[in-house]
Amino acid sequence: MEFFDKYINPIHLLGLRSHLRTKRFLYTFNLTILLMIGAMLLGFFFMSMERMATASIGKSLFMIFSIMQYIVVSLVFPAFSCTAIISEKEGKTYDLLVTANLSPSDIVWGKFLSAFTHCAMFLISSLPVVMMAFLFGGITPDLLAITYGVLFAYSALIVMLCLAISSIYKTITRAIIASYVVIIVLNSFVSPVLFYLLVDYLYFSEISRFFISIGGYGSLNVFLTIYIMPPFLFFSLIFAPYLVAKNSLRTYANNRSTALRAYFVIFGTSLLAIFLTYYINTIFSVGQKLDYEMIIVSSGFCFGVVGLLSLIGAIGFAGENAVPEKFVMKRLSEYLKAGRIRKIFNWKLFITLLGPGSYRGGRFVCTMSILWMLIFLVGTMFLVESLGIKNNRFFKKYTHSYIEQLAISGLVVFSFTYFFCMLSTFLSFRIKQAGFRRAILFCISLFLVVLLPLYALFYMEAENYFGANLANLQYLSPSLCFGLSLAPVADLKTTYYNYLIYEIPLHYYHIFIYLFIGVIFHFQNRRSSLQRWKKLEEEEQEILNMK
């Protein structure tokens, strides 16, 4: 036991000891299971009235179970973690944790494990309930395993996200409200995708056919899609809130951005590597030529994730102190002058060279995103030029060349990234004390209130659904809108909204507007940075004169 003892996180153990004894946990636990059984029985009652086939009953019961579980995950699980850190601060126990030599990662990891264990107890205890569906057939153990895998992964994501929120906010009420708002937004991204995947698996099997078309089960492409991409996306999404939580718990403000930079470099480069592997594998396995449709789909997806990572980075760096670059360089030269050459190789100083500072952070995100896109574009161009392209059906449809098409999508993402990076830097120069939270709220509300409805209107028109219809609500899903914003220009129909001026598609307006506003913010940031630099110099001079 002593061997395992050192691996036990004290906060995890304390969380289990203290929370599992509360009546609240007991009531929530039993009520959830009872509700799930009730929903299943009610569903079965109505299905038996309609005299459905037994396999259909099994599938429908499984659907009810999955939806109920999803609701529990979305509504109950945030409660386990959305107050986890803020309650320590409000309850005056946080200082005791820090002085007990628990690092920010110990605290976040312990709180995560504690909340996730509670979630796991809920999920596992409902396993006997789903066995009802197995009585009727139509369900495979594989489906159950996949569903549980997805539910566990989604619970982990929600728990970590709520932990990050609870580490940022200063009151419990605000943390709870913010957590549930974020979960609602997240659900609007995730729920359509999960629902589609489940329905497809149960009834249509379109995804299976797609897998066969891109090389069949056992091929590298399908292996990448099933086994590499989901864990990659999961870790890249869960790691961002982990870093946010860890950074906001640091006592000293230095080196906060280091992990965020490492996060960018690792996940952005991995993403690029995965997509280039897709291409190369296509060449060697499918027919020595690149599939045009695959290029479009891959680049759209790749740029979409780059955009999402950049958005996280832009918001993350907004919390940094707006330290001018010159200041950091001066500190470095002082070290050199003082003869502490060996210190140059000290990792702490190396990190000082990289950051901190939102202005530097913002530019870092922009540089990285444009670098990834350039590698992607040049790589694609090189492969297409040397190996050729197949599937001219799509190629003929486009009026632009394939590389121009990709470049436009890349520029859409870059302009978006640039705009948000410069906006968040602008905010961190202006908001002093509560810069991080306000910058995040401002950026998210701008994204949700202004950009998404605009995209929604735009694509409702593009899809010719610009009429009064309840189905139009689907266009308010952020995932759909962001995905569609990367749609090929040639897919846009020649309507008034898409081509405001003859033959200039809306994508170009998008790029122009974001880059233009981004440049304005950039100049403002540069000015603010210089002003801050002058102020620091004056302060330093004042101190020297005093001495």
């Binding site: 050192k6 304390l14 007990a100």
Partner: protein, 311 residues
């Protein structure tokens, strides 16, 4: 030992701690006193690695609080002025949590916890829930938690606040016991009478800056500008007038005044010659019952220095 060098903290436009520099010798009980808003808790939080200093630095047991916070935390035990507890766990589980946090090996853990409980007189309450403890008991529990990793330095922020008289006396004896264990105790308190009996040296702060620091006798002498204040208690009230006359005609006495059954004098001569003053009084047949030098009275020093008499 603790060393502070030009420690400064600014919150917005408010200068909370202003260039604070002093040293706490090892093995001493050091009182850190000052009026409300003087920056005591801010300084303590910087020492406890909970706040980042804006400039200056501090070292605890030879470790820098800014560059080696982990080593500082292992060398120091911190007890905040207000603290919370985890209510649904027992006292043993609460201490076990902190013992695990301090990475005390499993072999020694239970023994260490029991030892700390014994020192703070909590061993009988081992399996009681923390939520059922009184304020005084929670203070003891927090002190037990502070001692778990056997730190050389203890930083206690208002540890006696809210305790009843008996608990305070017990707490004082506990602090003496810690001094005997050769631990450096850095203690901040408003209750100066509590401190004056036990502290070896003090630092007095006001408006974020250091007013005076050092051992009690030195400060007392400094603060009274080489005068020693002496309180002479006289048994008979009728003799007070005579005593006042005798004292007014004695050399090296600057000021004399009557306060109930006592006479307060300000003596500017050598301390070793003070007995001559007493001798004059005895010769004049004055029934003296008590003579106390007020130089060790922390309350008086505090009142004098924070009113600007010494600066």
């Amino acid at each position: 030992m603790i060393l502070l060098k030009n420690l400064t903290k600014i919150f917005g436009n408010f200068l909370a701690v202003d260039n604070l520099s002093f040293e706490v010798p090892s093995g001493e009980i050091f009182g850190f006193i000052g009026p409300n808003g003087a920056g005591k808790t801010t300084t303590i939080k910087m020492l406890a690695t909970l706040l980042q200093p804006d400039s200056g630095n501090a070292w605890i047991d030879g470790h820098c609080v800014y560059t080696d916070p982990e080593k500082v935390r292992m060398a120091m035990g911190y007890m905040p002025d207000y603290f919370g507890t985890y209510d649904n766990v027992t006292i043993f589980e609460f201490l076990d949590f902190f013992a695990r946090s301090y990475r005390i090996p499993p072999k020694n853990r239970t023994g260490t916890i029991k030892g700390c409980m014994e020192l703070t007189d909590l061993q009988k309450l081992e399996s009681k829930l923390v939520s059922s403890l009184s304020k005084g008991m929670k203070q003891r529990l927090c002190l037990a938690k502070t001692l778990l990793h056997n730190p050389n330095v203890l930083i206690l922020d208002e540890p006696a606040a809210g305790l009843d008289p008996r608990a305070r006396i017990e707490f004082r004896s506990l602090l003496r016991e810690l001094r005997n264990m050769n631990k450096t105790v850095f203690i901040s308190s408003h209750i100066l009478t509590e401190l004056s009996d036990i502290v070896d040296s003090v630092a007095i702060v006001e408006k974020g800056g250091l007013v005076v620091s050092g051992n009690l006798q030195t400060i007392s002498q400094l603060s009274s500008k080489n005068h020693t204040e002496v309180r002479i208690k006289i048994h008979s009230k009728e003799k007070i007038e005579t005593a006042l006359n005798v004292l007014e005609n004695t050399d090296e006495i600057i000021n004399v005044h009557n306060e109930n059954d006592s006479i307060l004098i300000e003596y500017s001569g050598q301390t070793e010659n003070l007995y001559l003053v007493i001798k004059n009084l005895v010769n004049a047949d004055i029934p003296i019952t008590e003579v106390t030098s007020s130089q060790s009275n922390l309350e008086d020093i505090f009142m004098r220095v924070t009113q600007g008499e010494v600066s």
